[in-house]
Symmetry: C2
Subunit: 357 residues, 2 copies
């Protein structure tokens, strides 16, 4: 008998719901398409149906500890309202948490999806042996999350961890956020495709040009496939990804001196192609990194070094995520298990779990 909770990863494309027990064992995962076009009520209805199904199915195996939901966007933690969510059009300023709580009759915890992913990697993934860590998620955009003392750091208004909008090139590519030269403009899937199209337009990239004309849905994955086949222009694009990531991770190492920085999200599957450039930049740009880097061969996979050291960690580890696309799902499921400890980090105090309807 182990208590369990239900985690939800509400993406713009996929809606995934999982029952996870308190030891981190996945009991069951349900994947649905997110029917964004049919509106918010429909998506919330589908989600609540799946949550009820899992809650009833596993109620014999332990107590349900709650529901945690990872949402792409900025969340007002006090009101449970989505402030901004480019991938969920029409959801902004809506009282999402209240609506779901009323449908389920129980407490629900909303969390930014990148924060949930960081929390998942801290619970069960690459950062499971450290108390403090930061994660960068490289997807359509670039997100981030910070964990201090095994609790998500929300900052003053729940907006902490926006690593995607740290400046890499002060006069660089215009970003939708208003800034120029944001990390997101060099290290997201969108950026990889843009850089590939720029190279094609300059007629310097026959391999990319061929791949793009052969495939109308030319993607970051296609650029990566060329890079691992040795295409020089494709390799150069991933070096630019690593260069930009290296600058930002060096900034974070200098500012925060954390024991671990985890790189996840879809683009992180190209780790081999971009990580050597990360480590080149880190060694040059952070004396804190230089003083604390693990003694492994530079660019080598460092996850293995991420073990418990007596007296606490003393090495700065930069590594890829371990949980893949499930990081946010596990993190969301973890939220209700520790919400009471995290009250000081801005969960509503005194909120109690009730039996799900």
């Amino acid at each position: 008998m182990a208590d369990f909770s239900i985690g939800v990863d509400l993406g713009g494309t996929n809606l995934r719901i999982a029952a996870v027990d308190e030891h981190g064992v996945l009991l069951e995962k349900v994947t649905l398409g997110t029917q964004v076009a049919l509106g918010r009520d429909r998506v919330i209805h589908d989600m609540c149906e799946a949550i009820r199904h899992l809650a009833h199915k596993y109620e014999g195996s332990g107590a349900l500890q709650g529901i945690g939901i990872g949402v792409p966007g900025i969340i007002d933690m006090k009101t449970g309202t989505l402030r901004e969510s480019p991938n969920l059009p029409g959801w902004a300023e809506s009282p999402v948490r209240t609506q779901i709580e009323q449908m389920l009759g129980t407490r629900v915890i909303l969390e930014n999806d990148a924060n949930a992913a960081a929390f998942g990697e801290n619970w069960l993934g690459a950062a499971r042996n450290v108390d403090d860590m930061a994660m960068l998620t490289l997807g359509t955009g670039v997100g981030g999350g910070i964990v201090f003392g095994r609790a998500i750091w929300h900052g003053m208004t729940g907006m902490a961890g926006e690593f995607g909008h740290i400046t890499v090139e002060p006069e660089g590519v215009q970003c939708k956020c208003g800034n120029r030269g944001c990390l997101e403009q060099y290290a997201s899937a969108t950026a990889v495709v843009r850089m590939a199209r720029e190279a094609i337009e300059q007629h310097i990239a026959p391999g990319l040009s061929h791949a793009a004309s052969a495939n109308p849905e030319f993607s970051a994955k296609a650029v990566y496939n060329l890079a691992i086949q040795g295409d020089e222009e494709a390799k150069k694009i991933f070096r630019r990804v690593g260069h930009a990531l290296g600058i930002v991770i060096a900034d974070l190492v200098n500012a925060l001196n954390l024991p671990m920085y985890v790189v996840g999200g879809g683009v992180s599957s190209a780790w081999e192609a971009f990580s050597p450039a990360i480590f080149d930049e880190l060694r040059k740009r952070s004396m804190v990194y230089a003083a604390t880097a693990p003694p492994s061969v530079p660019g080598e996979e460092q996850g293995a070094s991420a073990q418990v050291e007596p007296g606490g960690p003393t090495r700065t580890i930069v590594t890829r995520a371990l949980l893949g696309s499930d990081a946010g799902l596990y993190g969301a499921a973890r939220l209700p298990m520790v919400a009471d400890e995290m009250v000081s980090h801005s969960y509503p105090a005194g909120a109690k779990m009730r039996k799900i309807i």
Copy 2:
């Protein structure tokens, strides 16, 4: 009757020792020259003499809570050893804390000087009404400190807060730390003088040229004096200072979402000359700042907004330090008053105060 403690600001030029009571009232401040050339033992001897003098003088007014010392350099918090200290040649790798504790017969707390300054501003200065804050100190170099929950954030190995080495221009001016384009290369007193000399060499700055030839000790202060007199090249230099600071503060706002960022150190007396450029960059480069900026006129002094808001702060305040060169001294004095609460942040647990010899 109020308990008191003794704070020390051990600089490369001045050695200042103060008795401060638990309410933050300065009882007495002693300023000595730091006899760096006469060696470490002599400096520590002078410091301990002054500490004993103040300890005995005020022992009737309350209990001495301990000694806190702010030191320029990276400190190994576990061993009390200075790892690196460019302004105290010959002090690196020396067991400074043990040596002082043996001379005084009581517990001593060492702290990085920029961390101590942040702690002082959080106790009595611009950030007194917030629990979480960051400070940038603009002096010969650029230092920084982070306070979370009214405790100094040391990071894994005591190296957190190195904001001076965050990258502003990836291919910019070479820094001694190994990086290029560090904030320190654009926002320190050293950088102001370098930028002035560069303008003089380009024969575009008659005002600066005249000031430099008239004064062999041409300083950042001289450049500031020209700027407030309306010299265009001098004004441009301070706009570059603000531009670089704005990029880094925007990075910190995006990453940490703190309620307050304080700018201190000697160069901060030129606040009027560089702060408009900070706010220009912040509004452009941080959507988090744009969403949380106070409704005051941009560039206006924002310290007045730094009051307690019910339910916690919701505005991002960027302001100049209030305590001037005493911030580090007050912060150092505060350390022994709260050391027990800060144990989890890496002070040696179980250390007890004994009566000073």
